[in-house]
Amino acid sequence: MMQLVSKGVMKVNFKIESNFIDITNYPSVERHLEKMANKGWLINKIVAGNIFIYKKIEPEELDFSIALYEVETAFTRKSKEELDEFNSVCESVGWNYATKSFNLHIYFKEKGTDAMEIQTDDEEEFSTLEFIGKKYIKSNYIQIPFMIFLAWMNIGSLFTSVYSIKDGLGQIVAPMIALALIVLIVQTIHIKRFLKANKNNIEMGKDIEYSDSKFCFYKVTFLLSYIIISIFTIYILYLGIVLKKKFVLIAFIPILIGLIIGCAYRFLVKPSKIKLKNKKIGLVATLIITTIISIFISIGIIMYIGNGVDDGGNPNIDGYKVLSIDDFEDNVYEYEGTLMQGSSILVPKSYEYYSYARKSGSIITEYSKALTEDLAKNLVSRYIRQARSASVGRYGRDLEFYFEEGIYDDYFLDAGITRNDFNNLKANDIKEFKKALIKMIKEKAIIKDEENLWNLDETYFLSYDKMEIVIRDGKEVFYLEGKDFSDVEIINIIKEKLDLN
């Protein structure tokens, strides 16, 4: 059992333990709490069903009884007065209240003293267990498809897209989603089995059978979750405060609003005496209002970012390996510059700089320093994949129209497709035509620097006009856009500016 014991200077007076309690194992927890009391630790608080906090007592022989008393449903919650009444009745039959974990209320008494059992009927106890268990299962049935959707959105792109390798949030959230999904599935199966087995037991007049498992899987997953949540929080603060991505912090406003409204509903509306029907209407209205507020805030944030307000005009780019218009032209006024910084586990340092001047156009620099050289190579291959998709997206549209009409459009020239190429391929049927043309577009767009113009570890031109390029020097990867990167003079300027010699 994992234990974290406080190290007070004078005296250790509390103990934190990673454990697990739910409706399937609480009698085994009763036995564990008895052993702990024997060692001088009395349960004081249980957080999220898995962090047990004990307070120091004189070692005592105590009996524990964990009682089911349903605290909360989707629309109702027992008020403090109702819980007090329940506790006072338990006390009048000989049990002292210790703490609770969700619907499980923990009581203790001195061993050997007389007290009425808190649960006196197995059938009723199972009926409550079944009600609570089915509620968990229903909730999991809603959460599982949602988690699968999130996993599909996050984990799928984690291995392929340029953005994901540089996106720290995605890399932190992905394992969290995977863990949550596994826990939900395991929990659903576990509770279903428990209810099914005990339904039979009750029908046959037998006792309820509880789990004696040590629940190591849950304990480890909960511990991992806490670690991931801590990293997530630190990362958000790092993005917002150190990298000055204020919008990341602002983006949490909708979540904060949701939390505040959710808490207000839980602690004020649920325990109130408002009729159930009105509570349901209230919940739906609250959800609609929260969604509208969140949408407005999100739109505001997007507009805020879109306007470039976040960067406060031209940023200072000293110390950044980026290109700007004035690196190539004299007497040019850089009209606009936008610097966005990022950091992730796989690519600890990255930034993008967008430099723009009237008449001269724009230059984009995306700089990344990967954790290892292999990851830098992987990033290069992601840029290549991205460029392939982009070229197909740009030139691959309306191919059926051009095939059927037999029209060669000059814009094919930008992709390196000549009239001859077009006419040769037109002899095929439409499927063959499309397939061959797309293949040709890709081949002409992505070209390795065979002439070794750049003399670096890896260099790929990503467009036929050579206005896009990805280069790698060790762990450093640059994606550049906006100049003819096959021009030796330009190459020399860039290599000097980006310190690639």
């Binding site: 009682a67 338990c90 649960q119 009927d121």
Partner: protein
């Protein structure tokens, strides 16, 4: 409120409904049941309060007062209907048992 179909009331269900022919709060219900059954039936607080919540949701009982953290309940007409049906069911069980005990099962052999 429509009556839910209940197969048969369990022992604690039966005694709780029976005890609420008069206004009573939780602890009084427990004491009343113990007194009525001369200690044969005990309803613990976990069992009692789970059932009180469920009965209130189903409309079998209603809260009539809430003073000093003590909610007092009373059986409703719907609750009485359920209770009386259960009493009738128990009566027929008892009649059957009495009949068999009194030797009337011979009629079964001679039924043709």
């Amino acid at each position: 409120m429509a009556k839910k179909t209940i197969k048969a009331l369990t022992q604690p269900m039966y005694y709780i409904l029976l005890s609420l022919k008069e206004k009573r709060h939780g602890y009084e219900i427990m004491q009343f049941v113990e007194w009525l059954t001369e200690g044969r039936v005990k309803v613990g607080p976990g069992t009692l309060y789970s059932l009180l919540s469920r009965f209130e949701d189903d409309g079998y009982i209603e809260m009539v007062s809430d003073n000093d953290n003590k909610k007092t309940y009373l059986i409703t007409d719907l609750g009485k209907e359920v209770l009386y049906e259960e009493i009738e069911r128990l009566k027929s069980l008892l009649n059957d048992a009495t009949s068999v005990k009194g030797g009337n099962e011979g009629e079964f052999q001679n039924r043709k």
